[in-house]
Amino acid sequence: MSSKRDLIGRSVADWKKSEHHGAGTWLAERLTSVVLAVLTLWVAYSAVKLAGGGYEAALAFVKAPLNAGLIGLTAIFAVWHMYMGLRMVVEDYFDKREGLGFYLFLIFLLSLVLLVATGAALYLVHQAA
């Protein structure tokens, strides 16, 4: 039995971590959820507008600066929210000996890939004249 697992064995400093970080995550979850509630309705509206419209219409939509900006904003907030959510679930069910670090790394990697892919796609669309 690892002593790290022992609640009494933990230092006061360890307990006090939540004093500085807990509220920040809680607030970020709320902030991203409020922003995403608005943005996902815009996404749903855009999906109805674009569905079945073909390649040219979709390209013109993403080329419009306002739409490109909102897509970027949606990606940032969605990935941020996703990162916190997946992290919370994984932290609930795995501890350090059960591969927690590996899962957290996968979540970080997925977040990074999604952001880079969105950024690159927006860049490519706007590069093409």
């Binding site: 697992r5 022992d6 409020v34 996902t40 979709a58 996703m82 069910y93 999604l114 796609a121």
Partner: protein, 141 residues
Amino acid sequence: MSQTASGKPSPTPRRALSPHLQVWRWHITMFSSIMHRVTGFGSTVGLIMVVAWLVSLALGHQAYTAFLTFAASPLGMIVWFLLSLGGFVHLTGGVRHWIWDLGAGFTPKNADQLAFWSMAAGLVLTLAFWACLFASGKVSL
């Protein structure tokens, strides 16, 4: 926290960090809580799909057509429907969390109603969304 006679702490038994699915007695608030995580995970898949759509668009006509070969197929439509359902149920589940954050809806009766209506509202939003898609005439089975 149990202690031995010598005053030294006894080893903590190995146990789950959080309640796992199988320990809950069936209840609607337990179901909606689990569904919030399931739909949150589904929304992750949805996000990946939307980013894949954007990337295929950026890669050109051919890649876009290849993406639509799946996305506009009957199987793709079922996937989009489930993803939209997950997204909307997660959205209304989020509204439920805001109501809790305001300090309301904590009595067992209110919590039950909130769980039911948030999931029902998510379903209604999904059906409304697909009604709009089909009404536009551009989406058909």
